[in-house]
Amino acid sequence: MSAVAPPVASFLDTFGGSIEFIFQSRTSAQEGSKVMVGGLDQILELLASQALISIVALLLALLLALPLGVYLGHRGVGEFAAVAVGNAGRAVPELALIALMIAFVGTGSINVTIAVMILGIPPILTNSFVGIRQVDRGAVEAARGVGMTEWEIIRKVELPLAVPTIMGGVRTGAVNIVATSTIGSLAGVDTFGKLILGENVYGNEGVIAGAMMVAVLALAFEFGLAGIQRLLTPRGITTQQQLTRATA
């Protein structure tokens, strides 16, 4: 018991105030200010706003990148472009993207959503290309042999078999999107970045509370998408994967 207590105590000592900030509002850290900050109401408001931006951006990224990646993968063309976009995407600094947007395009939620979407596209495009491309050519030929149209091959053979790879890209894209939407607060949008970058208003505990909530939001996306991946993955390839894992 005594061996457990000190770490718990020191954790509460470090993060307890921030956890309190999430549930209980207090007066602003600015001197003489009577404005109330923090508390569940504000946290939920920021959560809803950042989650909305992130979900819309992820859906837009999917809408643009998935069909393109699947089409290129199915035709087997544009490998260089699909992979290069993925590599270049990793090199784009989130802070630079938001800063360039503020400087040359403007602020507001539409701009932030589009900027954030851009960082979601590369992993989805690359992974859907690679995922479709990796599908066993024998399976595709067999499908063609039984008289499936190209569209049926994509929908009934290639897409189901590529689900794990494609969803891997979607999850990476979601991480990018949640991370970048956080600093969207620099462009006047309500996200947890408002707390993280507003130490003079929210105090140190508010900053850490913002960081905690961003981590929670990102993990929620990750686990949500992992659940969706499980639902979409055909039974056959899950058992196959488990078998190869067991024998590896």
């Binding site: 470090t14 993060f15 590599n87 990793r90 090199a91 784009v92 600094p93 989130e94 802070l95 630079a96 800063a99 360039l100 503020i102 400087a103 040359f104 991480v175 949640v178 991370a179 956080t182 600093i183 620099l186 970045g193 993280i196 970058l197 900053v207 850490i208 913002g210 960081a211 905690m212 961003v214 981590a215 990102a218 993990l219 990750e222 894992r245 590896a248």
Partner: protein
């Protein structure tokens, strides 16, 4: 940082709103050239952050790969735990470490190194696993111990894949390290955020910081590509 700010206020007051940096319509080439020296410090800091965290991440990831190499059941455990760290947005991880490690370069390096673990560990584990059984058996046949086999056969053959992981990790670290400014560790984020956004969105430093950052990623990637070629001479033989 403070002297730089003071110097800039003097400049703006002296030259008024007719000069290109005063108007701040677009990227100001003259200003960027005149103040090229201002970008050296942050660029150096940025490079240091990247090198330290990639090296630290590589060493830890290799350690984990060696541990899990003969204990395969640990592979999903390590992949899962490094994956969860990777999910936490960098800006959040930086700030969550702050109460424990304080503002400064240590916090930034720890966070960035943790990010590198996922990709480098995965590549190292896959690389070690993909070593052809024939090479392993040849080593065994020569009477190598497990340790000799690991360091003289398996590790060298896995090197191209390990370095491929390091390349990806390096390029993303260059990008993520711009956020180190929020952990008090300087770097090019200082040029973009402190000199740019916080000074009424001064466009020139924003463009300069972003450009240097992307160039750094390209150059480091090219350097590592050369390293990758050098450590895998058999691949070159095959392609000739």
């Amino acid at each position: 940082m403070i002297p730089v700010l003071a110097q800039i206020e003097v400049r703006e007051a002296g030259e008024g709103a007719t000069t290109c940096q005063g108007k701040n319509d677009t990227f100001c080439f003259d200003y960027a050239i005149d103040n090229l020296g201002d970008y050296l410090g942050p660029t150096g800091e940025h490079l240091l952050l990247v090198v330290l965290s990639v090296v630290a991440g590589l060493l830890i990831a290799l350690g984990l790969a060696v541990i899990s190499h003969r204990r395969r059941w640990l592979v999903p455990v390590f992949v899962g735990s490094t994956g969860i760290i990777y999910t936490i947005p960098s800006i959040a991880l930086f700030l969550l470490l702050l109460p424990i490690t304080d503002r400064g370069i240590a916090t930034a390096v720890i966070a960035l190194a943790l990010y590198n673990l996922q990709i480098v560990y995965r590549n190292s584990a896959v690389g070690l696993n993909n070593v052809p059984a024939s090479a392993r058996e040849a080593g065994r046949g020569m009477g190598m111990t497990d340790r000799q086999l690991l360091w003289k056969v398996e590790m060298p053959l896995a090197m191209p894949e390990i370095i491929a992981g390091v390349r990806i990790a390096t390029v993303s670290t260059v990008a993520i390290a711009t956020l180190a400014i929020f952990a008090g560790a300087g770097g090019l984020g200082e040029v973009i955020y402190t000199d740019g956004i916080q000074r009424d969105v001064f466009k020139t430093p924003i463009v300069m910081g972003s450009t240097i950052c992307i160039l750094m990623a390209i150059v480091l990637d090219a350097v590592l590509l050369v390293v990758q070629r050098v450590v895998s001479p058999w691949r070159r033989v095959r392609t000739i």
